[in-house]
């Protein structure tokens, strides 16, 4: 089993060319140095710091190692789930081996991971340092560490087995991978959100403390100094109580959550509370055992008896039929709709793409970027004290927010055919002028691109209300920005297409030239948008002119600018359509290459 896992990894690397193989070997070497380094680093640093460490600091060090490991472990798990060649139990069952043997071996081979290879030596180094500093009773560190790893691997193995069964349905598989990615991004961003949300109160506390300390320093000896000192002492006492409360809550949390039993067990050992530490160890092994037992039973039922494809599937079918009949009763099916003043082919491309995009888990995942960005922006605006000062900058702020939003969904606009994969053949085989395909694709991405722009505009209007002239002018500005972005995006889709992975939201190994072109497009896009700031500049220059008084200059100029952008878009589109037809076979090759 280990050998097969190794061969899968080695073959994957060798298929990527010699440079990748060399890089892989160098990385392995560096990894080995890093793993040994991690052991010695934690041992040496631990030996130095631990003699003076508070119990909560010991708890914090182990919490850091545990959380770090879980984060890396999750990333590794996600990558493993998104690969099609991962070693599944099903691939081994036709061999003359028992299910139990396969199960155990497959579980043990899951220990071969970079996360364990890095964090295990680091934890062992710190454990040895604890033994050296505190004494032999700290030997209990080792079962705690192994228990932690066994629990994590057993629960993951259980989860993987469950997910693998769900992922036999490709539609669900995509949603699962996207859901895990979504959760991981939110998890990584959570500290930023918490920091932004609490930074105000922490800052207030620090300011108050500084003021009280300054008062004490500047006070002359006498009743004033005594009063200032008393105020400072009271403040520090409250702060200490708050800290103790917070520490207690954190320790309690680590007592309740099984993954927290590692820092809690170490914390308990440091305080020579052996019963608590032993309970943590027993808890680890008990939960891991139960998890493995349940996982084995589910595997046995799922594979040998074929459970999971019967009742559930029938139930699903019934509900789908109901949905279908409801749809039939309704009006015109979505993909048959028409857009006024466009050809039928444009409408076909638009609505089919829109339908695909709405269903694709990839596009849902893509919306995470703008959600996080707008979340940060809103938090920044809520915390800002002087919003009035920003009013004059609204045109540039709305353009900035809208274009950043559009760039965060660039996978749809800048790689128009990426999510089509083999479906791009249908475009190559179609008798439709390629210009119409581009228009249809651009219209399909409008709800994403322009929608984000409009949301940004309305969000800013909520925090910094501006007059109708600027607000509605902003709408014209967003449409112009979207059309310009489409022109850049069309060119990128033609010259630098990227094949998207079937699972996940990433491109498959783009060529260096493709990467450079995509990067240059991101730099070029703000330049392409710069003319849209002209109305703002002209309005500023006309400020104070009697004839311009009362005229909605900004709105009018943005409307004129939109007209110019539409003409530019139409002119370029014809050229881009021709180029697309010339390059469609090359694009197809990139999008469908294994």
């Amino acid at each position: 089993m280990m050998w097969v896992r190794w061969r899968i990894l080695a073959n994957r690397m060798s298929r990527r060319g010699k440079i990748n193989s060399v890089l892989f070997a160098v990385l392995l070497l560096l990894g080995a140095v890093l793993f040994v380094g991690a052991f010695f680093a934690t041992f040496l640093v631990g030996s130095e710091i631990l003699p003076d460490a508070e119990p909560m600091e010991v708890w914090g060090a182990w919490l850091g190692l545990g959380v770090g490991f879980l984060l890396f472990w999750m990333i590794g798990l996600m990558t493993e789930l998104s690969r099609s060649d991962s070693l599944s139990i099903k691939n081994l069952l036709h061999l003359p081996v028992s299910l139990g043997w396969v199960f155990i071996n497959n579980y043990l081979s899951s220990f071969v991971s970079l996360s364990i290879a890095f964090f295990l030596p680091a934890m062992l180094g710190l454990a040895l340092a604890m033994i050296k500093v505190f004494g032999m009773y700290m030997l209990l560190c080792f079962p705690l560490i192994f228990g932690f790893f066994i629990l994590v691997t057993a629960l993951t193995y259980h989860l993987r087995g469950w997910l693998a069964r769900l992922m036999e349905d490709k539609r669900k598989a995509k949603s699962i991978v996207m859901g895990i990615s979504f959760g991981l991004v939110l998890l990584v961003q959570a500290p930023n959100f918490i920091n932004m949300a609490t930074s105000g109160s922490q800052l207030d506390g620090r300011v108050k403390k500084f003021e009280l300390q300054s008062k004490v320093k500047s006070a002359t000896p006498g009743p004033r100094l005594e009063q200032a000192q008393a105020e400072l002492d009271a403040f520090l006492a409250v702060e200490e109580i708050e800290e103790m409360k917070s520490d207690r809550v954190m320790v309690l949390a680590s007592q309740v959550i099984p993954f927290g039993w590692l820092p809690y067990g170490m914390f308990a050992l440091h305080g020579k509370r052996f019963l608590a530490a032993s309970l943590s160890i027993m808890g680890f092994f008990l939960l891991a055992g139960l998890s493995l037992k349940r996982s084995y039973r589910t595997t046995l039922r799922g594979i040998v008896e074929g459970e999971g494809h019967g009742a559930g599937a029938k139930k699903k079918k019934g509900s789908l039929e109901l949905k279908k009949s409801k749809k039939k009763a309704g009006g015109m099916p979505f993909v048959e709709r028409r857009i006024p003043w466009t050809s039928d082919a444009v409408s076909a491309v638009t609505f089919s793409n829109l339908r695909s995009l709405v269903r694709a888990p990839e596009s849902k995942m893509m919306m995470l970027g703008p959600i996080i960005m707008f979340g940060f922006m809103a938090m920044g605006l809520v915390k800002s004290d002087n919003l009035e000062n920003y009013r004059i900058w609204m045109p540039i702020m709305s353009l900035g927010a809208a274009s950043m939003g559009m760039m965060s969904v660039s996978q749809v606009i800048q790689n128009l055919f990426g999510l089509d994969r083999a479906g791009f053949r249908a475009y190559v085989l179609s008798p439709v002028p390629r210009k119409q395909i581009l228009i249809g694709k651009n219209l399909a991405s409008a709800p994403f691109g322009m929608g984000i722009g409009f949301i940004a505009l309305c969000g800013l209007q909520f925090f910094i209300p501006v007059d109708a002239n600027h607000f509605f002018g902003g709408f014209f500005q967003v449409i112009s920005a979207f059309l310009l972005f489409c022109l850049v995006g069309n060119s990128m889709s033609i010259y630098a297409p990227v094949r998207m992975r079937e699972m996940g939201n990433k491109g498959v190994r783009p060529k260096f030239s493709t990467f450079v072109l995509q990067f240059l497009a991101i730099i070029f896009y703000p330049l392409a948008l710069s003319p849209l700031l002209l109305p703002w500049g002209v309005e500023y220059m006309l400020n104070g002119e009697a004839w311009a008084e009362g005229l909605p200059i900004y709105l009018l100029l943005q409307a004129v600018m939109l007209g110019l952008v539409v003409l530019t878009y139409r002119w370029f589109l014809g050229q881009q359509g021709e180029i697309l037809q010339s390059r469609e076979q090359q694009i197809l090759d990139v999008l469908t290459r294994d």
Binding site: D169, K170, R171, K174, L320, E321, K323, K324, P333, V335, E336, D344, A345, S347, A348, V349, S352, R355, S356, L357, R359, A360, D420, R421, A422, G423, F424, R425, A426, V428, L429, S430, P431, V432, P433, E578, Q581, S582, Q585, L588, D589, T592
Partner: protein, 258 residues
């Protein structure tokens, strides 16, 4: 090039780096014929079909499909409006249902909404896809995907149909339906260009046959002309260079079983 041929190529060649996948192929497929294009794995069948349908550019040589040159933009679009294609790796969109995909294909061919609906309602039950109409293409089995791709190729009622391994992974019932459909398609004067590994099917259906081996067209004739030389299988094995008379041998096979 002459319009008595649905397909005509001159010195059609395709290289992938140093490897020559298709070499100086001179195909001549008459209008209204059922042409079977055969060859061992990796012989260049799919590469040829890709070049004929505009999915792959040839390295050199000329192509005429229904009198149009796919290398010229306007002619390529005209050609594509007259052909139906079921490519090797299909051309489906993962997140569309069968009826939605057929609607998309029909509209791209400029068909009327009502015609698309009527034909879809005929095609889906005929190919046994109606009961899975609510599934997305990504949830289909390989055989179901093939059937949907065939429905899409037939939908615009093309003059020339390109089918790359249409029977691969398709069940026996559907296979019989497809065979009958294709026979009727040719009977009314359209042309079919088909690749298949199943020699029995080609022998039963096709009026003409071409055999490609290592990128070279080694045989191109009417099916009836093969009659004197024995079965299609025998002729196929002869021209692709297989040792017909040699029994396969594995040193340990047949020793000491039970």
């Amino acid at each position: 090039m002459s319009m008595e041929f649905a397909i005509q190529t001159t010195a059609l060649t395709r290289n992938f780096g140093d490897f020559c996948a298709v070499q100086q192929v001179e195909l001549q497929v008459e209008l209204g014929t059922f042409y079977g294009f055969l060859g061992p794995n990796g012989a260049g069948k799919s590469t040829t079909i890709k070049m004929l349908t505009g999915l792959l550019a040839p390295s050199s040589g000329e192509i005429s499909v229904l009198g149009q040159n796919p290398a010229v933009h306007e002619e390529a679009l005209k050609m594509k409006s007259q052909i139906g294609v079921m490519p090797e790796d299909l051309a489906l969109f993962d997140n569309l249902k069968a009826a939605e995909y057929l609607t998309f294909i029909g509209r791209m061919h400029g068909m009327e909404q009502k015609v698309i609906r009527d034909r879809t309602e005929e095609l889906l039950p005929l190919l046994d896809l109606e009961k899975d109409a609510d599934k997305l293409a990504i949830e289909y089995s390989h055989g179901m995907k093939k059937k949907l791709a065939l429905a899409a190729a037939l939908l615009p009622d093309p003059d020339l149909l390109f089918l790359d391994e249409p029977f691969e992974g398709v069940d026996a019932v559907a296979s019989r339906t497809i065979r009958k459909l294709l026979a009727k398609f040719v009977e009314r004067g359209s042309t079919v260009f088909l690749t298949s590994h199943v020699l029995e099917i080609v022998e039963r259906l096709c009026t003409h046959v071409g055999i490609i081996s290592d990128g070279v067209l080694v045989e191109q004739t009417k099916m009836e002309n093969l009659g004197s030389g024995g079965s299609l299988e025998q002729r196929f094995l002869e021209v692709v260079g297989s040792k017909v008379d040699t029994d396969p041998q594995i040193s340990w096979l047949g020793e000491g079983v039970l």
